[in-house]
Structure formats: C-alpha cells, structure tokens
Amino acid sequence: MGRYVVRRLLQMIPVFVGATLLIFLMVHVMGDPIAGLCGERQCDQATAARLKREFGLDQPVWRQYLTYMGNVFTGDFGTAFNGQEVTELMSTAFPVTVRLTLIAIVFEIVVGVTLGVLTGLRRGRPVDTGVLLVTLVVISVPTFVTGLLLQLLLGVKWDWIRPSVSSEAPFGELVLPGLVLASVSLAYVTRLTRTSIAENRRSDYVRTAVAKGLPRHRVVVRHLLRNSLIPVVTFIGADIGFLMGGAIVTERIFNIHGVGYQLYQGILRQNTQTVVGFVTVLVLVFLLANLLVDLLYAVLDPRIRYV
C-alpha cells in the first residue's frame, strides 16, 4: 500500500509539469496582456516596457515558465495586475469554492445515492420511471438555465432566498447554488447507483445473504450497497475536481467570489499569474482526488489489494 502511494505520487510529477506547461503556453498565446491594460488606447511605450519587465514578460517563454515554476515551489505564485498577491486571491477564493463543492458533493451522495437505491430496488415501478424521467430532464437542461430559472423563481418571484450570495458566502446561502452545481452530477449518480444496484441484486452473494435470513436493511446496506458503490465513488471522485473548476457558470449566476470568478477575471484580463496559479492548484486537487478514489476501492472491495 505505502509503495503504491509513493509510486502514484511520483507519477503525478510529470502530469503536473505537463499540465502547467500547457496552461502557461495557452495563456501566452492569448496575446500581449499589457495591451489590454490601458483600455481602448495604447499604453505609452515607456510604461508598457516597464510593466513588461516587471512581470517578466520581456523574457522568452521557456525562461518565464522556469522562473514561474521556481517561484511556485517556494510558495510564491506571483502578483496579479491589480497589485494583489495571487496567494492572497487564493486564500479568499478557495474556501468559498470548497464550501460550495462540499455542499454539492453532499447533495450528490445523500440525494443521489438514496434515489439510486430506491429506484434500483423498485425497478419498473412508477417511482423508478418517475425518477428516471426527472434525471433525464435535469441532464438535458444546461446548468445556467436551471440556475437562472431557480434564481428568478425563488429569489425574485417568491422571495424565499437572496438571488445573490454575500461576500462572506456562509453555508446557508450556498445551498441553492450547491444544488444547481450538483444537479447534473446528481442525476448521473442516481442513474449509476440504480443500474449498479439493480445488477447486483441478482448476484449470488445477495441471494446467500437473503437465504441466511439477514434483515433486509442489512442486506441492502452492508452487502448490496457497498459492492454497488465502486463506479459511483469513481464518478464522485473525478467530479470533485470538475466541480471546483467548473463552478464558473454557477459562481457567475449567483455572484459567488470563488475560484471560478477569479479564473474568469484572470482570463478576461489575460492575467497569466492568476490563471496559471489557480489552474495549478486545481490540477493538484484533481490528482489527489483521483488517488483517494483509487485507495477507496480497496476499502470498498476487499478483493482489491495494492502492492
């Protein structure tokens, strides 16, 4: 197990370098960020040159990348164009997005898995068909439509919630955005669990458990559910990274000042430091979440052993 983890951690290094290099090059291709700094007119030559030198933009790309990576390893993610340290931006943005993601994941697990078990055990019944239909609708409607619709209905028409989230972004205000963010994944989790449960229900070990005379809820929770969760866990694990980075749309609709907001602004202002910094952290989160998922397999399925 220990060796496996070490090997996986080592594998992350090339992935990490490759990913950051790609992002770095992509942001670079977007053009000269200084040109956009002075609005509609051209920056005066002298100031533009000084700014370029200060942000290291006069160096060749490979050297910019090396300097940047060198700084990153000492914990310095550079400075955004508005004079704020990128680490400072991160320290305000990540807690908000982590909260939002947590709520979304909780929704996925609690609602998604419950619905999945419910429908998986009652295949073909009206509950099953109903839930299937609803998930189909949720999957096919884009998130921004669901988000704007719920915001308008609950926030403006019925006045149940504030349409936007305040800058502190407490858990309470993030419930609706979290639900919107989770909606599509939630539908997938429901469907995945349902299929998996329905399949495993007919397997030998479930029949044995039932034949032993175990109580029904024990059969379902200990034997059936545990074995059926492997594909669901994979999905949710991969989803963590996706939710954190993909929250741009949800964060915009509900005015949440999280990672998505910073990324969006960074891209608009062609701010290499912000974009690369945030994406680097997201890449790390993604890699670690995947490692965690793989380790969870061993917990869920005793047949899986890592050496």
């Binding site: 040109a35 002075c38 509609e40 005066d44 100031t47 704020q84 349409p163 936007s164 800058s167």
Partner: protein
Amino acid sequence: MLSASWGDPQNPLEPANTNEVQGGKVLDMIFRGLKRYDPVTGEAQDMLAEKIETSDSQNFTITVKDGWTFSNGEKVTARSFVDAWNYGASLRNNQRNAYFFGYIQGYDEVHPEEGEQSADTLSGLKVTGERTFTVALTQKFSTFPDTLGYNAFAPLPRAFFDDHDAWVKKPVGNGPYLVDSYTRGSQMSLRTWADYPGPDKARNGGVDLKVYTDNNTAYTDLLAGNLDLVDDVPAPQLKNVRDDLGGRYLNTPAGIIQTLAFPFYDEDWNKPGSEKVRTGLSMAIDRKQITDTIFQKTRTPATDWTSPVLGEDGGFQDGLCGKACEYDPEGAKKLIEEGGGLPGGKVTITFNADTGSHREWVNAVCHSINNALDDERACTANPVGTFADFRNEITGRKMTGPFRAGWQMDYPLIQNFLQPLYYTDASSNDGKWSNQQFDDLVDRANRETDTATAVGLFQQAEEVVRDNMAAIPLWYQNGSAGWSERLSDVKLNPFSVPVYDQIKVS
C-alpha cells in the same frame, strides 16, 4: 445608506493609475480636486481652487482654498498637489495616466519615451507658498485649468508616500466619503465623512459598493430588492427595463464616441476627391437603424465629432456634421462617383473581434453601405483577432481602408476630442491625418484666454474635420443606471459614474 453594483478595479486604486469606471467610482467619492465637473452641464467649476491665474495661457499660478483637510486631519496644501502630480508623472511608478501630465514642462525627463528617467520631479511645478504653486506648460493651453477636474490631478496626503501599501489597502482622501472597510475583490464600504469641509456634503449616510461578476446578477438583485443602484443595465434586459423599473432608469450619452478612421498614409485614401468618397461613405451608413436594432438605443447617432456631455457651452454642437452624417443612399452614391469611386471598387473595415461585439455593428455598417451603393461586394468586414494585434497593425501603418476608432475623453473639453485625434502627429492620430488649417485653428484656440472664443475656434477646427471627413463619426456611447424605489436624484457624471453624494435615500 445605499448599496450599489461595482466591479473589481483593474489597477491599484491610485488616482493617476485608474483609467476605468470601477476605480473611478471610488476616487470620485473619496477625492476632490482643484476643479469638479458639474454632473449636468459638464462645466468645470472651482472646488479646491481659490484662483488659477495666467497672463500668457502657458504659465499658471494656482492658489488652493484654505480650510481643506484630508480625512486623517492633514491639511491640503500646494505640496499635496505637487507631490501627487510628480508621483503620477514619474515613469518608475508605472502610472497608467501619466500622459495627463505630458503638457507640463519636464515631463520628457521624468517620463522619457525610452530609457531611464533623468529627473525625479517635473521642472514645471514649483511650490511658492503654503497654498500656492506654479505650473509651466510646454505650449500655450488656455483651457488647461479645466482639465484639472480629472481624478489624476487629485491631491495626495503624506500617508500615501510614507506607507503606500497600507494606503492602497484603505485609501485616505479629501472627499465627502471615507473608506470604512475594503475587502478586495468583493466589497467596499464607504461612509459619509462628518467633518467634510466642502460644499457638496453627501446627502446619504454612505454607500456599500458590491462586486458583481455578472451585471445580470446585479440587475436581478435590484429587482429582488437586495441592491439599490445598478449602473450598467445588461443589454438583454433593455427591452424589459421600462416595465421592471418604470421611470427609475437613465440612459444618457457618455463621453465616448465611435468613429471610422482612414489611413491617410495610403494614397488611395488621400488624393484629390477622396474627401467626397469619405463623405459619401458616411452618408451611406444608416446610424439610426443600427443604434436602434443592434444597440437597443444604448448608443446615440453622432452628429458631430465631440460628445453631448460637453454641453452647448462646452463645444458640443448638435448637427455640426449636417447632411454628411444623415442617411442618404442617393446622395452617397453620387458623391462617391464624383470622388472617383471606392479605391479598387471596394472598401474593407478593419476591427478587433475580441471585445465589445464590434463584429455585429461592422457587419451592419457594411450591409448599409452595400445597400446604398447597390453592390453586394462594396464593403467587407476584416476582423483582427486581438486588440493587441489590431493596435500593432495601426501603429505599423498597415491599414488599407477605414478602421474602427473609439475615443473615450480624458476630460470634458472640446480640445480633448480634437487635438489628440486630428492634430498633426498627435498621440492618438491613428490615421495620420494632417491639415495645416486645422492645426492653425487649434493653436489659435489654445492661445485664446477667453473660453467662449476658444471653444468657437475649436468648433471651426471641427468644421475642417467635417469638410475633409477626416474620420466618420458613428455614434455616442451611452451610460445607463437603474435604481430602487428608495432612491431619488440619481445622476451620471460626464464619465458615466453615478454622482453618489447627491443621491437621496428615503
């Protein structure tokens, strides 16, 4: 107290470093300069200036009013201004608005075009007393005092220089509001300064500026009653805005004009008769239809080369362009034929495609020209990928036909709409137009000490621009605002920033 929508300022909140509306909002609340522009007429009125005297329109003696202080108690003196201006002009401080100080003597030493600066302070600025200082300009510029209402000319307290980082985190100024708390990227709370010495005390308790990523969300919050003031109504909502807000909506021209400039370094566009072709093109554009349909009336068809925010006294003249800016397909066709036809039989309009939905209106302009000339291939759009590339092509003189040009005024003066754009070799004269008659008129206007006469001369110069159609005026960009039932007296100043201190809350 009221809450208003805001965007994260692009640059640190220093007066000489803020060139966009979001940072401008804050500066307008926490600073007062020598002059202040009247929100309605756009006229520059004395604020901290007791008097500004000159005998030759080139050397000015400025006296600062007594009794003004910064909100930390420090007195506002002549030095507060001189230090601030020197800081703004100095190359090493990377101030985006440094060019504002370009008319002051010694600017080329503290801010050379390339290389290191050879001086730290502007030689044209001298403190002569506690409340007096002198300004020497490099050329005659009679309306110079009227430029001093812009934020870049605001005074700065010593705290700005002594502990710059702390100041940027929580700016201290001399305006009617104090910064109470500032959480970067999300919110700034401003409160009324009780001891504000000026005549324009805030008529409300304070303003909470909230950062919105998306102006649609801000608008939704306004409808839900969570926000009092939105100063940028999103385009998709413009159709509903009258139903949603009733009369609580404002849509007025800002100090921004869009034009089509021509490459006068290209012989095809600079030969006898081509002014007729250019005028013909102008007459072939149906401005009203484009502003109505594509911009949903958030632009106003242009009838001169300035902006309505100047006001009649300031030099705006509705209809100065006359027939040349009216849609007249027949006349257009005739004029273009008289002028020898379009060079090569066609015209391409170059623009940058990355921002501002320029593609839509350029296509519409081309469509309008094609219809007027009965030729499907007369006009084509030529998009350039990024603004940076677009700028590079312009400075590299690679344009072969008309190209998009926008001008956002620095200060509400007719001079600012003409000299930087059309004077020979001026900083933003992208088409390299040059006309002796125009230059002479501008020089004369700058020498003139009487403002009304100066404005009249500038208007004559503008007529030269018209007769040569140096650039085709398209439309004035509007600023908009919507507000809740609690507010009254909402106005926009010439820079499209709400005049927060005059807003009343019930």
